[in-house]
């Protein structure tokens, strides 16, 4: 038998909660970006689940777009982290407390 829809949604909720906890608790810039990736993946899973539930593919197309945007976000985010590390010798986000220098 196929897996019920709400099992997938529960898994997606759990993954989203884990990612949110990571973003809120960690102070390391790379770990925060990883938490964002976990949350985006959880949302992707939920979108694919709803696409199956409703029997059309638009949800899967949206997952494709989310993946592309996530790739762009990671590229820019990691470039920012590299630039920050060059200046501060640290990627601890608590140390970034000035808007200009």
């Amino acid at each position: 038998m196929s897996v019920p829809t709400n099992y997938f949604i529960l898994l997606a909720t759990a993954l989203f909660a884990i990612g949110a906890a990571g973003v809120l608790l960690r102070r390391n810039g790379i770990s925060i970006l990883l938490g964002i990736e976990i949350m985006l993946n959880a949302v992707n899973l939920a979108l694919a689940t709803f696409a199956r539930q409703h029997g059309n593919l638009d949800g899967q197309v949206l997952v494709f777009f989310v993946m592309a945007v996530a790739a762009a976000e990671v590229a820019v985010g990691l470039a920012l982290l590299v630039a920050i590390f060059r200046r501060h010798r640290s990627i601890d986000v608590d140390r970034l407390n000035v808007m200009r220098w």
Partner: protein, 163 residues
Amino acid sequence: MELIVFAVTAVLAIASACVAVVHRQPVVNVLSLIVAFFCVAVNFALLGASFLAAAQILVYAGAILVLFLFVVMLLNAPVVEGDEQGKRPVQRIGGILLPLLLLAGGAAVLAPTLVASAAAPTEGTGHALGRLLVGPHLFAFELVSVLLLAALVAAMVLVKRKQ
């Protein structure tokens, strides 16, 4: 059979995502996140989204996490997080409580009911998705290409050294 595969991958995904969040070493975080993303790819396959399963492995495990791993090794930043932890009790409590609240709310709403899938599941093959992408979603598809180009240029500008 599908339920067993789902249960195994779900437990593995949650466990490795937890490791990815709580472990101190960034390299361990990234490597365990690769395991979690593989499990999500298996779940995509269970949902009939075969193209997304392949794209998940190629894009996430293959490109994004390799990029993470590359930056972790490039920066080689010292792990100095431990002494900062005691300073922000409100943030810590909120960071634990808010996800728990989300999880509890989701479980309370979703667990009692059992929703069966649609009668005629649609296969998310590359052929079917491609027809949608260059058909009704063509404008968004082209916008994504512009976005990726902008991200590429932005990343190069951000890491460029001024001499």
